[in-house]
Every structure is written in C-alpha cells, then in structure tokens.
Amino acid sequence: MPDALTRFLQPIDAFGRYVLLMAHAFRSVGEFRSYRTNLVEQMVRIGIDSIPIVALAAAFSGAVTTVQTAYQLVSPFIPRSIIGSIVAPSMILELGAVVTGFILAGRVGARISAELGTMRVTEQIDALEVMGLNSVGYLILPRVIAGVLMFPALYVLACFVGIGGGMLVAELGGFLSVGEFVQGARDFFQPFDPVFGVIKSLVFGFLITSIACFKGYFTAGGAEGVGRSTTQAAVLSCVFILVADLVLAYTLL
C-alpha cells in the first residue's frame, strides 16, 4: 500500500519541487550580471533560430484553414469574404499560439532539457554550484525569461505569416480575392483577440521553458536519464499547452 501512496503523491511532490525551483530562479532576478550573456544567447536560440520553422508551420496552417473553410462554405447565400472572417480570427485566437507552442515544445523544450540534463549527469551543474555560482539563476532564469520574451514575438510573426499564407492560397486557388479576404477579416475583427493571443503565448512560453528546465535540472541516471527527461519535457509541455489553452479560453473569452 505505501507503494501505491508514493505513486499517488509523486505528481504532487514533482509540482512542489517545480514551484520551489521557479521561486529560486526568480529570486535570483537581481543577479543580472551573472546571466545577461546567457539571456542574449538564449533569446537568439529560442527566438531567432525558431523563425524559419514557426513561419513554415504558420503559413501552412493558414493556407490549409483557408482551403478547408472554402470547401465547407458551398452555399451561394454566404458571401465569400466570410472565409477571411473565419481564417484570420482562427489564426489570431488559436492557431498562431498553439501551432507555435507545439513546435517550440519539441524544438526548444527538448533542447533545453537535453542540455541541462547532460550538464547534470556530467556534474557541470555541481561544478557551477561549488564555484559559488547560483546554478538556478545562471542556467534556468535566462532560459525562462527568453521564452517569455520571445514567444509573443514568434506568435505575432506566426499570425502575420499564417494570414498571409491564407490570402495567398485564397488568391492563387481562385477561392476569393485578397481584397475580399481582408474585408472579411476586418468585418469581424475584435481588438481583444490579439491581446488574448499574446497572453496565451506568454503563458505557453513560460510553460515550455520552465517545464523543460525543471525536467533537465533534476535529471538522474546517465544517458538514459537524459533521454527520459527530454521526452517527458516535450510531452508534458504539449499536455500543459492544451490544458492552459482551454483554461485561458474559458476564463478570458
């Protein structure tokens, strides 16, 4: 029975350690000198380096949404500009943030967790600690801040590229003209929608980087352990993106 109890308590224990780790990280926020170089480097690696894949995924999701919406709207009584009214908010409200989130969970989350996990099993984290450096402040804080800063930027990019991809396919595929698309998008535009999207992307950015840091930092068990942490980081990030997506939509919309 104690075994079953331990298994039941495990997620609670993990959550507790996660919260303590993040608290430790944010308490170190004042030691800017020690992590500024890392912050810039992480912003490049998380943000700039992710631009091509995020743009690619966004362009395709925008294009596919356009084609499929056109396919579903066959009635002659519905104006074709409605396609723009559906694709643009879909991108802004949902696809821009979630597609970016899933891609970065794999690309950024797995990298962070493998990197920190390897540093843990090769005693590099211990080496930082015994030098007298705050390893949490030095390693984790810049990664989480970089995620929270760069994710909204990638989200905005994804929206522009996604809607652009939709327009391009609409025009080239002969579904509707760019003018009609923009008209439709404008008719139903809500100023809060992009704000909501930015909030979502901030939360996703925090979740992905913090979960990956948590999994990587507490890696144990050599190369196998690094593999386990990396997989768990990517899977957990995706799960929490879905949960957070629903919670945010329910509470904010």
Partner: protein, 255 residues
C-alpha cells in the same frame, strides 16, 4: 580547517554514511579512501554542501555550512576548488573560457589580467596551448588537467579532488599526482583527495581516512598505515599491491 561531525546520510532508506567524523587540518593533504560505493563521493559532496546531511554537521573554519543562508554558503564555496571525476568542463566553452569562467564571475579583473592568469594556470598543468580547443577535442587526461587549472584559477584555500587518477593511463596519473603535490607545496592549500587508487594516495597524501561500510573504519598518517594491522585496511591496500606491485607500494614514501 574542515570538521565533519557525526555525519549520517541515507538514500531512500539505505544508509550510505553512518556517524562519520573527520578533521582536515590546515595545509595538509587528506585522502579519503575506500572501495567503490563506500560513500566517498557522498562524503565529498557533503563537504561542499551539495548534499544535506540527515544528521551531523560540516564545519568549514568553524561555520556550519548547512546552517547558513544560500548566499553565505556560496561565499564559503568560493574558497573551494573542486576537481570532478569527469572534469565537468563546460562543453559549450573552449578550454580558455572554462578556466576564465570563475575569474569573470568572481573577480573584477580586466580581460588582459584574466588572460595572463588563465595562461599561467594552463601552463601550470602543462597545457599552455589548448586554450582554443573545446573539451570534446581533448583527451580524458587533458580534460582533467584543464579542469584542475579551472579549480585553482581563483587560488582557493581548499582543493577537493574526486578520483583524480581514475580512468587515466599510468603516465598521465603520475603527471596529475605531481601536479597535486606541487600545488599543495606551492600554494599551501588544504587538499582532500577522494580516491581508491592507493598508488596515487601513497604518493600525495599526508593522512588517510578509510571508509568501510559507510563508516570511517581507520584513519591515520601514511606512516601509520604501513604499520597498521587492521584486517579490512590491509585487505584494501593489499588488493592495490597486487595491482601495482608490492615494491612500488612499500617504497612509495621515498617518492
């Protein structure tokens, strides 16, 4: 001076260290010896506060390192240099930046001064030219020597060596042993060597503590070790004699 008092530690119910007490005096080289899995590395990690004891305490110059704040602990740690088993070089940086790392973080030296200091430390470990190389381009022994250069960059008062010669060929081992001896003599540091390599221990240590089943089973000077009749200690030393030849062990104090 480092004092370990009645320290006990267990992992998931399994005791690893039981009532360990140990004193490491200023300027001496103390070896912690014992078989693999006897708790040597666990003891070493307690001394720098990487692990917290279940019972007992560790005093560095009279300060209980588990009773102070994290920031205070970090200041105490800055007096330590630790050579980890695998070197633990930061693989994202080249050798030069590894050695420069503690200098950049804990001193206000200019880049030129840092450069001089790094080159001095790298020359001390006889690797003056490896600066631009990444750790992955260096052999195991070279990585350990660069790691040693990094450990001494800030001129620590205490240097801890975790298995400094394990996995190295005899010649490289000798180089490392020489380095450890020279550092102890030149910088007058207090050294703690965690090792199961008796050959190395006999060459570099002043005193030794023998960990057996999680307890300090025997401790004393190297001279006393030669005269000891303790069964377990003799078994451990004899096993090493078999590996490295009795003559080497017996004549070691003349090295």
């Amino acid at each position: 001076m480092i004092q370990v008092e009645h320290l006990s530690k267990s992992f998931s119910g399994k005791p690893v260290l039981t009532d360990v007490s140990l004193e490491i005096l200023e300027g001496e080289t103390m070896a912690i010896i014992g078989r693999s899995g006897s708790g040597k590395s666990v003891l070493m990690k307690h001394i720098v506060g990487l692990l917290e004891p279940d019972a007992g305490r560790v005093l560095v110059d009279g300060t209980d390192i588990n009773a102070v704040s994290y920031n205070e602990l970090r200041r105490i740690r800055q007096q330590f240099g630790v050579l980890f088993q695998g070197g633990a070089l930061f693989d994202s940086m080249n050798a030069f930046d590894n050695v420069a790392f503690p200098l950049r973080h804990f001193t206000r030296l200019s880049e030129a001064e840092i450069r001089d200091r790094v080159l001095h430390c790298l020359s001390m470990v006889q690797l003056p030219d490896v600066g631009p190389k990444k750790p992955s381009e260096l052999s195991g022994g070279m990585q350990k020597r660069v790691a040693l250069a990094r450990a001494v960059a800030l001129e620590p008062r205490y240097i801890i060596y975790d298995e400094p010669t394990s996995g190295l060929d005899p010649q490289t081992s000798n180089t490392i042993n020489e380095l450890i001896k020279n550092l102890a003599a030149e910088l007058n540091v207090t050294s703690i060597v965690v090792s199961h390599d008796m050959h190395s221990v006999l060459v570099i240590a002043d005193r030794a503590a023998f960990l057996y089943n999680g307890r300090i089973h025997w401790s004393g000077t190297i001279e006393e070790m030669h005269r000891s009749n303790d069964r377990e200690l003799l078994d451990f030393v004899k096993a090493s004699e078999y590996q490295i030849g009795p003559a080497a062990v017996r004549s070691s104090h003349t090295y």
